[in-house]
Symmetry: C2
Subunit: 195 residues, 2 copies
Amino acid sequence: MGYPEGHKERTRTRIVDAARRLWKTKGYGGASVDKVMEEAGLTRGGFYAHFKSKEDLFEEVLLENKVRDGLELLKEKGITDTKAQMNAVIDWYLDENHRDHPEEGCVLTTLSQEMSRHRVKPRQRLSALVTRFGQWLGGETKQDKGYAALAMMVGAVSLARAHENPEVSAEILKQAKKEVKQLIGLSGNNPTWPD
Amino acid sequence: MGYPEGHKERTRTRIVDAARRLWKTKGYGGASVDKVMEEAGLTRGGFYAHFKSKEDLFEEVLLENKVRDGLELLKEKGITDTKAQMNAVIDWYLDENHRDHPEEGCVLTTLSQEMSRHRVKPRQRLSALVTRFGQWLGGETKQDKGYAALAMMVGAVSLARAHENPEVSAEILKQAKKEVKQLIGLSGNNPTWPD
DNA sequence: TTTTAAATATGACAGTTATCATATTTAATT
DNA sequence: AATTAAATATGATAACTGTCATATTTAAAA
């Protein structure tokens, strides 16, 4: 009775996706509940029928794991070699397209610096992403370099976004891509990231 | 007549220092003009006698260059060897004390991710810091690794601050310290950062 | 001690924020 | 077509924001 089956579920998903896009671009404080709802094509009224608070929605936003999702696509394309997968992930991560489109990018590059100011729950979500990503990157070498590699990737995208000079910005990404691959023991094969 | 010679200058400096401490800890949006003035021991009234706007003060805050200042101290202590200086800077940067005290730390670790959302002037200030720091780090190797090294340093401190697990946090710093030194061609000598 | 201009404080503004109570809309069921 | 409970919209609140006009305080100069 009332709205069709699964309507609320779909609406909820739309809100989460809208918040993700906005907050990955403008930061958590950069988009209010009103703006998130507008981005989702709704008004502020319904928000609290879906979430207990703004911070509650933030927690859910941080469940996204772009690398996990990307790996699924790579496997479907038949790319099962771990080194090839890493190469693809790094090529995607340290690319100018990723730099220029934070709304579709990794949460670590936009939100990690403000996480220390957030509540426990959201921090736990982001910490889980860091741990899994870092361990995956370091898994091959067995030399404890995964977090160092991840740090270089996150730092490079952050600095490349911040820098006003396009040439320096590109240079930052270029250096990082080369050195990260070197670090975790990859040579020069270049499979493509799936779309 | 009125207040003593140089009073306003000193007050202005106090405001800039207060803003720096707060914004390096809570981000630019995390502390209002009121809070900045309170941190400086004043009230909001006098603010606009010192600065045209909040963003104007932000620009001035970003003039700080911890590495330049630190190098001055190192030189005074007679440490003139570039490799020794780099070792000292890296040891200070990737330390748990730096991680735990952003208010006294490098602006890149707290503010770089939000710079793309700011006006041109503040971005130029931060860009200048990135360029100089990166070039200095890469200057020795002549192999274009300076930005990669800086990216790892900034990323590592950001992720170490974000992570809820103290052991993982420490591991991130440890790995990065080792790999950054490796990257720019430093062995294991450890001079100390001056206070 | 009085005067005075410079420096800071008080009070107020319009706009935004997270949140919620209440009203309205929706379409499956009757 | 009428009913109805679920889903969304409207309107409002108190707190906070950047900014500024006006009032008050300061201590050097008279």
